[in-house]
Assembly symmetry: C2
Homo-oligomer: 195 residues x 2
Amino acid sequence: MRFPPISLSLPDWLDEFLSRNEDPLVDNEKRMALAVELSRSNLENGTGGPFGAAIFESGSGRLVAAGVNLVEAQDCSIAHAEMVAIAFAQKTLATYDLGATGLPDHELVTSTEPCAMCLGAIPWSGVRHVVCGARDEDARAIGFDEGHKPSGWADLLEKQGITVVRDVLRESARQVLLDYARRGGVIYNPDRRDE
Amino acid sequence: MRFPPISLSLPDWLDEFLSRNEDPLVDNEKRMALAVELSRSNLENGTGGPFGAAIFESGSGRLVAAGVNLVEAQDCSIAHAEMVAIAFAQKTLATYDLGATGLPDHELVTSTEPCAMCLGAIPWSGVRHVVCGARDEDARAIGFDEGHKPSGWADLLEKQGITVVRDVLRESARQVLLDYARRGGVIYNPDRRDE
């Protein structure tokens, strides 16, 4: 086989991490606290960039899948935390559409607002709600390039029937970004203008 | 393990398909012909949406990886042809950055212009050149929603140091989209306004 299957694996620490956390989580602050703790654990374990995300059933608060940034660990530039959470949720539920008829509503909770790629992935994923922690300017402030997002991106999602809540535990989420920068974490950056 | 690894597999027909094709391919038309044939084979084999993509070394024309839409086949909404090609190229070269120092320039050739997600993924991937077949309005014409792309997206890529060539074999690429629609292929669509 010229191109053997690619495998995408979550970090080894995740099972123990999840066993310490409540499930279900009834409100957005608790869900965001989990996403932020995922981002911090990814930083502290040295398993990737300072970003965490999770997919919940919106109503019950049941955790469907967790994600962290796996770009370096898996040699995969598309393995942002949101993409990883979406992929694992869809695999768990055996559907490419988390908004399919018969399923409960799903919510993406992400420790930092989505970059242009992850933003584009949200409508395809089928999630009906998005909850964000740090702002994209917080990620840009430590050097990550969030890409060209359409202006008014949150309103555009709302017009597609996807609600957006921002700034949930923003300061806690931002602190993880700052800690990552302070420790000299790799800031991979797509801008090629200077090369 | 609560979330076992996810595996992303290319279709079984791909090896035989590639064995019939020249490698390297010296110009953009030949490279696009391969991407369009990938999209047609994905349609004819019933393995997914009518989209194909490939990553080449820009200079030599050597094929680094091929991708087709695997959304339905792999229960994964992010498995668009471009994303699949990028992921397999990065795995093949063991890097998350196809533009890393020491590597030759890489080029993404895609049978249809990228949707908002794939557009956002392009800068992160490290490719230096993008070559497109069908226009995004051709995909929209059969019902696929390409998402909210920033206006002037090709110029924005150019400003990031990524060249864009459009309309290469557009009619051949568009014909695959039309054939897919005519055969009643699934048009999955992220718009939830009417539900």
